[in-house]
């Protein structure tokens, strides 16, 4: 299985949308840097992310959420990842696709 990472805001470009279009069920998506805006509960990208949550695990990097003051605005179902989890996710997947 592939670990996908996205570091771009879905409100600024199509990177997250392309990832969600191609990601296979059962895969894992980790939102990092400005990618964590994809974890917002009430944005124009929320519906697509919510739909994706039915088939993929989605994590958001907690330090990036904290820096941006987003911890209290998250979609239910998004899992928080610290740097330790980030390392575990990379280690636990055979391939990493970085959507940058």
């Amino acid at each position: 299985m592939i670990l996908h990472t996205v570091n771009q805001s879905p409100l600024q470009n199509q990177t997250l949308r392309s990832c969600l279009r191609l990601i296979k069920p059962g895969s894992t998506l980790l939102l990092i840097e400005n990618g964590v805006y994809g974890a917002l509960a009430e944005s124009t990208a929320s519906a697509e992310v919510l739909t994706a949550l039915d088939k993929v695990s989605i994590y958001a990097l907690e330090p990036d959420l904290k820096a941006r003051s987003l911890l209290n605005k998250l979609l239910p179902g998004i899992q928080l990842a610290g740097y330790d989890t980030f390392v575990d996710l990379v280690e636990g997947h055979s391939t990493v696709q970085n959507w940058i």
């Binding site: 409100l11 600024q12 400005n34 009430e42 124009t44 330090p63 990036d64 820096a67 605005k73």
Partner: protein
């Protein structure tokens, strides 16, 4: 004396359009600092936050978590620099599910038509 730059400096209307999210790069941060600098030269300044630039205004950012400088810190200095024209695009706000209670300073929320007029009214527009 119409050409005395010391006692009668030329004043222009500047609009800074903040469109980039904080922390992804330092472009946005340097752009905010440039705005403060323009204020020091006593120009007529307006600040507009739209698109992902709105996220610069969020209260309670904790940049220590990623060893970064606080992007909202220069925004908090706006009033002490005499910058009181701070505008936010209503459409961008709605797209992100944000409301005024989320912001670190008081802002004026403008609809699309009013924003177009604001832009029309400027001498110089700078955008990030």
């Amino acid at each position: 004396m119409s050409n005395d730059p010391i006692n009668d400096p030329i004043k222009k209307k500047f609009l800074f359009v903040h469109r980039k999210a904080p922390y992804g790069s330092f472009q946005g941060r340097e752009f905010i600092d440039a705005g403060l600098m323009a204020a020091a030269f006593e120009q007529e300044l307006s600040m507009l936050f739209m698109d992902d630039g709105l996220f610069i205004l969020l209260d309670q950012q904790q940049p220590a978590a990623i060893q970064s400088k606080d992007f909202s810190e220069p925004v908090k200095k706006f009033s002490s620099y005499g910058i009181d024209k701070v505008f936010v695009d209503a459409v961008s706000m709605k797209e992100r599910g944000l409301d005024t209670g989320d912001f670190v300073i008081d802002v004026n929320i403008l609809d699309t038509n009013t924003l177009s007029e604001l832009m029309d009214d400027q001498d110089i527009i700078l955008s990030s």
